[in-house]
């Protein structure tokens, strides 16, 4: 993480050289978090909500979209303001920015997808404390221009959302026998009650982390 931030700060010194919007580096900023640098399975961030809201596909999808919105908006805004933010209170400012967008999202959800918003309950509000959001602001948006910050936020949020949906897929299918509320398994097949609990989610997330890391050959550094 630190490497990325450093190299890009260096680049800032020579702003005259115009970089293509989808240069190789920018593409990597976007795609890395989807796979090899995934916030959940590799960085192991944002676990709490990945366990809590993934009982069914629909709330997971809404949650994913909400996180994408919050991350993209707060990253771009933080990046735009980065040269004005006093470093001593930068965390407070980041938090205020995130909180503003989260409350905004919550209001929008309550106004337009009332039922799902009620189902998500406190967890939309808890996006504020999602480590992925603030982690990316602090590690990336504070030191980069708006466009790369946008890509970085989008990539990380999508990486988060994808894992959320994968966990929800397994949990809803085996826990309730449905997907997006539609019956998949016949009633005669008994469902796995463990999948309905967060502990079931913990196992699914654990398996995903194992799968991802063994495919990528990722190792924790000592």
């Amino acid at each position: 993480m630190a490497d990325v931030a450093e190299t890009t700060t260096v680049e800032e010194v020579k702003p005259k050289k115009k970089e293509a919007l989808f240069s190789k580096k920018n593409r990597r900023i976007l795609t890395d978090p989807l796979d090899g640098d995934n916030p959940i399975t590799v960085q192991v961030l944002g676990i709490c909500s990945a366990l809590a809201v993934t009982g069914q596909m629909k709330p997971s999808l809404v949650m994913g979209i909400a996180v994408v919105f919050v991350m993209v908006c707060s990253s771009v805004l933080t990046s735009l303001l980065r040269n004005t933010i006093p470093s001593r209170i930068r965390i407070v400012v980041q938090l205020a920015i995130i909180a503003t967008f989260v409350i905004l999202v919550n209001e929008l959800l309550l106004a337009f997808v009332y039922d799902t918003a009620k189902g998500l309950g406190a967890f939309v509000g808890l996006i504020i404390t999602n480590c992925i959001v603030m982690g990316r602001l602090e590690a990336f948006a504070m030191g980069n221009k708006p466009w790369p910050s946008f890509l970085d936020a989008l990539g990380n949020a999508m990486g988060y959302a994808i894992i959320l949906l994968m966990v929800a897929f397994v949990r809803e299918l085996f826990g309730s026998g449905t997907l997006f509320g539609a019956k998949i398994f016949p009633d005669s097949l008994s469902t796995n009650g463990l999948m309905l609990y967060s502990s079931g989610a913990c196992i699914v997330v654990g398996l995903l982390i194992w799968l991802q890391r063994s495919i990528n050959g990722f190792r924790e550094e000592d």
């Binding site: 009982g55 069914q56 004005t84 933010i85 006093p86 470093s87 001593r88 209170i89 407070v92 400012v93 205020a96 920015i97 909180a99 503003t100 409350i103 905004l104 209001e107 929008l108 309550l110 106004a111 337009f112 009332y114 009620k118 309950g121 826990g175 309730s176 469902t191 009650g193 309905l196 609990y197």
Partner: protein, 248 residues
């Protein structure tokens, strides 16, 4: 001004607060109508859902509700409280006062008439409120106006029960079990409807068909079930005055 000077920091914080605050204030005000409409529709759906199949479109739901349902507020003695609207009563907020001062409560009543909205009242829909395992639960029970005893149907709802276990109370196949049950026994004592332990999958309705006060349980959700039972007996007591009055 230097970026790390105290004055700069103070001005910066104040600016951020004011901007964020006014933005959110505006958003909240601007979306208020939508949110209120959602809440109102939710209530109307619950009231109608307790005694009939919901119409498909939102417009039909609102029309049916406006035509067939009339509301008012009664006190514990069953007397109509003038000048209060059923929709404005926060049942949850009043709940904490239940044990200490049940007589001082305002109870919303939803009166349902025939399909053209005229004639005698056919059902009274009574809102109930209580606690499940994790959070509040609530219900709307439609009582037959003829005997003030037979349950036409119920809507059960929850805020934070375990999905797949306690949260099942909001499923139609659980609510179906309450249809046709009786609230009072032959001697006129309030028995309520009691969810039993154990679940008879596939024959839930049939299993307790002969018992007017029992319904099949939800396996793995005993505490939520206890909360529901509490609503159907303890909370229902509040309406006793009203029900006795209507029985006469």
């Amino acid at each position: 001004m230097k970026k790390d000077s105290k004055a700069y920091i103070i001005i910066y914080t104040v600016l951020i607060t004011v901007i964020a605050g006014s933005l959110l204030g505006m958003a909240s005000l601007g979306l208020k109508d939508f949110k209120d409409a959602n809440e109102k529709l939710e209530l109307q759906k619950s009231i109608l859902g307790s005694f009939m199949e919901l119409p498909k479109s939102t417009k039909e739901i609102v029309d049916t509700y406006n035509k067939r349902v009339k509301t008012y507020v009664v006190n514990a003695q069953g007397e109509i409280v003038k000048g209060k609207e059923a929709a404005s009563i926060n049942v949850g907020e009043q709940y904490s006062a239940l044990r200490t001062n049940p007589r001082g409560r305002d109870l919303p009543i939803y009166e349902v008439r025939g399909e053209d909205g005229t004639g005698e009242v056919i059902y009274y829909v009574l809102p109930l409120y209580g606690f499940g395992l994790w959070d509040v639960i609530w219900a709307y029970v439609a009582v037959d106006a003829k005997d003030m005893n037979t349950v036409k149907g119920v809507i059960l709802a929850q805020k934070g029960e375990t999905p797949g276990l306690g949260a099942r109370i909001s499923d139609a196949n659980i609510q179906e079990r309450y249809k046709g049950k009786k609230l009072y026994d032959e001697s006129g004592t309030l028995q309520g409807v009691v969810m039993q332990r154990g679940e008879h999958v596939g024959e839930s309705v049939k299993y307790y068909e002969s018992d007017a006060h029992k319904v099949d349980g939800m396996s793995g959700a005993t505490i939520t079930g206890n909360g529901v039972n509490d609503m159907f007996k303890e909370y229902l007591k509040l309406y006793d005055g009203f029900i006795q009055k209507k029985k006469k």
